[in-house]
């Protein structure tokens, strides 16, 4: 087992250029701001003194490459700059918002699986049958609905209509978090499930037709034991990479959904900062999210390797 994970250091090394690219791109975006960046950033708050001070603070009067090196150096120290709105380090703001967003993401992923696994099993048992068509209709609709609108509709139905869930907010205790985050997570799960179902359904159909499922049946396995013991693990393998690739989409969606449900996570932080033209914060959040996606890519490979004993990424990449 362990030797098959020997690819991880190499994989990490491979992501270094990508991570650098990410920082470069974020840095470049910051300098796309037209005209005097400091003036643009300050907007209506600009006075000659504040522009000069910000220019100095951001090092905007230095050559571009020097600014980038400074940016990298500060990044290495965990310094993402100072928020213009809150006048506090961006790192602290980001770190404060991460738990909300991560909980939301994990919750959404769990709910996605809770929706996708039974539906895929239902659909793959008889492809083309009535249940399969029903599941396909769900996936089609799930992909066709704007996420934020699904959130609003859930609020309309479950929060306003049935009064079973709160309209927004995050709550105080862990139990409350789960309660408050249910609707936003469900919203994300509805958006994410179609992708998972598509992959899981087709791989389940393949697995159900495979010889080893015949073998399992010849040993008397059926129903749930067949599903959990033989079908799911095999079918999960290609689905893991599909989830990995689409996690970025989920992250992006969560930023919007936080806005709908007024959750104090990265998304709200970022969009509020956009409205207050607080560029260091926007930059910090963007950078964090992108690096998070890079890490998720590596994690996906690890999980993939653990699930599929045939995969040896170490050997594949060294060859």
């Amino acid at each position: 087992m362990l030797h098959r994970l020997s690819f991880v250091p190499g994989r990490l090394l491979q992501s270094v250029p990508v991570a650098f690219g990410v920082t470069l791109l974020v840095f470049f975006l910051a300098h796309l701001l037209p005209g005097n960046a400091a003036l643009a950033l300050l907007g209506q708050r600009a006075t000659p003194e504040s522009v000069a001070a910000l220019t100095e603070q951001l090092g905007l009067n230095k050559p571009l490459w020097e600014q980038y090196l400074l940016f990298l150096k500060q990044l290495g120290q965990g310094n993402l700059g100072t928020s213009l709105t809150y006048q506090s380090p961006v790192t602290g703001l980001v770190l404060g918002a991460i738990p909300v967003t991560l909980t939301l993401l994990a919750y959404a992923l769990v709910l996605s699986l809770a929706i996708s696994i039974p539906l895929s099993a239902l659909a793959s048992f008889r492809p083309g049958g009535g249940r399969d068509l029903g599941v396909r209709a769900f996936t089609l609709l799930g992909q066709g609905m704007p996420q934020f609108w699904v959130g609003i509709m859930l609020i309309l139905l479950l929060a306003v209509g049935l009064r079973t869930f709160p309209v927004g907010g995050y709550g105080e205790t862990a139990g409350e978090h789960l309660y408050f985050l249910f609707l936003p997570s469900l919203t994300l799960a509805i958006a994410m499930s179609p992708t998972i179902i598509r992959s899981l359904r087709s791989s389940m159909i393949t697995v159900l037709e495979s010889d080893y499922v015949g073998t399992a049946k010849s040993k008397g396995a059926s129903g749930v034991s067949l599903l959990t013991g033989h079908v799911l693990r095999n079918a999960a393998i290609p689905t893991v990479s599909v989830i990995g690739v689409n996690l970025g989409y989920l992250v992006g969606g969560s930023l919007v959904i936080e806005r709908v449900f007024a959750l104090p996570g990265l998304g709200s932080l970022m969009i509020n900062s956009i409205f207050t033209r607080d560029f260091p914060t926007v930059q910090g959040v963007t950078l964090f999210v992108a690096l998070f996606v890079v890490v998720v890519g590596i994690l996906t490979d690890v999980i993939y390797t653990i699930l599929d004993p045939r995969v040896d990424l170490g050997r594949a990449s060294s060859a």
Binding site: D211, Y212, G214, T215, K217, S218, K219, A221, H230
Partner: protein, 342 residues
Amino acid sequence: MRTSSAAGTAASTALSLLRVTDLRIGIRRRRGDDTVIVDDVSFDIAAGQRFGVVGESGSGKSLTLRAVADLLPKGVEVLSGSILYDGRELVGMPGAERRRLMGPEIAMIFQEPMTALNPVVRVGDQIAEGPRRHLGLSKRTAHSLAVEMMAKTGIPDPERRSRAYAHELSGGLRQRIMIAMAVSCSPRLLLCDEPTTALDVTVQHQVLRVLEDLCADTGTALAFVTHDLAVVNQTCTSMAVMYSGRIAESGSVVEVLSNPRHPYTRGLLDSAPDFDQPERQLIPIAGFPPSVTGRPVGCAFAPRCPFAVERCRTAVPPREEITPGHDTACFESERIFAGVPA
């Protein structure tokens, strides 16, 4: 009517472990004209008996076996007929009840162990699965039983190998794993679907030996499907030859192979290499077997048969007993094999 059922004679009814009668397998259509792949197949297997079914690809031999195991591919089903196992009717038996038979009563070995083993589950756990389910063993006891079964099939270092995955083992070892898995619950009937086709000849020989020994130990009956006459000769005591979905000839292995009474069996023997007479010239059967939908009206073998007469092209020959226990489905059998002593 037909003398076929008499092949087993009335006395064996009580003794037969598996009795297949007039089995028809195919694809059911809404408007009646079902596609029949296996037609009117009947045979008996007594407890402990080793029965071989020989035929080319597409002869329906594997489907017949899979019908017994309830593993027919999607869309294909038993259209009519009966499969009696130990006096119980399998056709139409509820799924749950049938699954309870699979493992402790009936087990199966597949052609391609690479695909028949779950790639992501350790082989030891796959062997232990059946005993845990059917014999109610604990995880640990089932595991030691698995290791014991692996040792019995001649796998060296079974404890370590039990933690391996299928792709880490050689073809011969994989097939031994399949055998260990199949016999782990001491079934009374073992279905083998070309279990050695994927192996090279020496390994094939060893694996067959293991299979025979284990079955002899436990008194397990074998239903053995293969295209290889030599394998049947080595493994089985009685046999049936299938052609285009029907049984052409059946009887004891010695009888059928040394004294064939169907021109197709004759053709198979002439086209198979014989290790005792390596110089003998091989005579292939001219032409190809008909497709499932393109079967001729009469005897399916007629278009390829050098002895076919008018009657062969208009009517399906029934199975008729020539000598006790040996029957053939050929109108012209007596004429063709007149010179050959019966």
